[in-house]
């Protein structure tokens, strides 16, 4: 089964690519990715850019679209990235999600609709 791990966390302040400390910051993520690949769990993953540059289209029934600046929900924790993993069941998916190296936040685990 495929599961998506939705990463909700506070935006991380850190060095940009090329700046000192960037590689150290990324090291646990690289290790996690490699672990998923080695275990045959990796399907897809991506990180989103900061929520401060998000744009939202709001649509109500029967009304026209409104385009607004900002994310769709004003919360402290934002959806910041995801993994799609192959796991044999929810327990395995939860175990994989538990290793996503965020310091704090939420990891929502949802099965991908089978095609």
């Amino acid at each position: 089964m495929q599961y998506m791990i939705l990463i909700h966390s506070e935006p991380m302040d850190g060095p940009n690519p090329g700046e000192p400390g960037f590689d150290e910051m990324m090291a646990p993520w690289m290790a996690y990715n490699q672990k998923l690949i080695d275990g045959g769990h990796y399907v897809a993953a991506d990180q989103l850019q900061g929520v401060e540059i998000a744009t939202t289209i709001r649509r109500a029934y029967g009304a026209g679209d409104t385009i607004v600046d900002g994310p769709f929900a004003e919360t402290k924790e934002h959806f910041g990235g995801f993994y799609i993993v192959e796991a044999k069941d929810l327990d395995e998916a939860l175990a994989l999600a538990a290793e996503v190296p965020i310091p704090a936040g939420s990891l929502e685990v949802r099965p991908v609709m089978p095609s």
Binding site: M1, K88, D91
Partner: protein, 404 residues
């Protein structure tokens, strides 16, 4: 399959059991390797459960009316079902049957208590699939509409199927066993606390919880927390019948200790001894230690309150400072060192402002400290917050006793 089961149990028992198993199999997420065998196992477990329950009922009846039961036993175990088939040997035969797998039972129990399910769903599924109760019985026990309960179970089964919750035994059992014991204890408490008003018509959740704990103990031999929980339940069960006079709640200190069930207390003592000898302390063992102090005190005045107070201090640390445990500790300390010491501890507790027992405790301690006005105020607050009829009546009486 129906025929095979019918041969062994009464038809009404077998019919229910097979239907239950079929309904489960149709909804089932994880198709077992051998569906027919699985179905048979589920159906048979269900029927064995029913017979065991009937047998337990017969034993209880035997104590009350030995003459009546002899006749029922001659016709098999389930007097009510009048099953012409089964006898003790056949039932034992079935339990020892090579197809029967304890693992399968444990998988089912762990599945029902999977942390990905809500607590309500865990309770409902455990009673339904492991306890073998019908949806109607569970709904009645929790005073819920049957529809609500049925939907809860359907939703839980759908999540098990669609989210891929496995029917497997995890490598690290500890946290899963904790969840399982919490569910069983919730069921026990629901039964224990609801005693008194209209309990006659309701299924006895206390007995169900004890049965589930015994099952858990068979499946997880040597687990000290399971033994601790079972001991705790048996201590409470031993005092069960003295907790009410009619609909009136009787407090521990006023209960007739000569009517406590000494046999159950002895069983609980043995279980607790065996648990503590494993040197892996836990919250259920600690609560059982406290219950043992109460159950083995010859009179209320003989109670070893200093020992109980220190056990509560241990429990408080184990539960990460639970305010309800802190409240109990304050009571124990007040009994050991006087009401002022208890009141000092009460003053440090936060988060129980809307809990009736917090105010009732406050009132009793203020009364013992000689402050009647403040006690009356606290009793009134407790009465406002109490929801259980027996507790409301008890508080009404305490308030009436205050007025000269």
């Amino acid at each position: 399959m129906l025929a095979l089961l019918t041969h062994r149990f009464g038809l009404d028992v077998a019919d229910d059991a097979v239907q239950d198993a079929l309904v489960e199999a149709l909804n089932w997420a994880v198709v077992p390797d051998n569906p027919a065998a699985w179905l048979y196992t589920v159906a048979r477990n269900r029927a064995v459960d029913r017979v065991r329950r009937d047998a337990a009922a017969a034993r209880r009846l035997a104590r009350a009316a030995p003459d009546l039961v002899l006749a029922a036993e001659r016709t098999g175990l389930g007097g009510e079902h009048g099953s012409p088939g089964g006898n003790d040997e056949e039932v034992l035969d079935m339990v020892d049957d090579a197809h029967y797998s304890g693992d399968e039972h444990l998988r089912l129990l762990l599945l029902c208590c999977h942390p990905a399910l809500s607590r309500d769903a865990q309770v409902a599924l455990t009673l339904r699939l492991v306890g073998g109760l019908t949806t109607a019985e569970i709904a009645a026990a929790f005073l819920l509409p049957e529809q609500t309960l049925a939907q809860r179970i359907v939703r839980a089964k759908r999540k098990i199927r669609d989210a891929g919750i496995p029917l497997s035994i995890p490598e690290d059992l500890t946290s899963r066993v904790d969840a399982l014991l919490t569910v069983v204890y919730l069921i026990f408490n629901e039964g224990y606390l609801s005693r008194g008003s209209g309990a006659g018509a309701r299924l006895d959740l206390v007995e169900e919880a004890i049965r589930l704990t015994i099952t858990a103990r068979e499946l997880l031999p040597g687990n000290p927390e399971v033994e601790g929980l079972l001991a705790l339940e048996l201590y409470a069960r031993a005092r069960h019948d003295t907790r009410f006079r009619g609909d009136e709640l009787v407090l521990l200190e006023h209960q007739d200790r000569t009517r406590w069930d000494g046999e159950l207390i002895e069983q609980a003592n043995g279980l607790l001894r065996s648990a503590l000898a494993r040197l892996q302390p836990g919250p259920f063992q600690t609560q059982a230690v406290i219950a043992r102090h109460h159950a083995t005190a010859r009179t209320a005045a003989d109670t070893d309150w200093p020992a109980i107070a220190s056990a509560y201090a241990v429990l408080l640390a184990m539960t990460g400072g639970s305010p309800v445990v802190a409240l109990n500790r304050a009571v124990a300390v007040s009994m050991a060192d006087g009401p002022d010491a208890g009141l000092r501890l009460l003053a440090e507790i936060t988060g129980l402002e809307n809990y009736h027992l917090y105010w009732a405790t406050h009132a009793e301690l203020l009364l013992r400290a000689g402050d009647e006005d403040a006690a009356a105020h606290a009793f009134a607050r407790a009465r406002e917050l109490a929801k259980n009829a027996a507790e409301q009546q008890h508080l009404d009486r305490r308030i009436a006793q205050l007025r000269p």
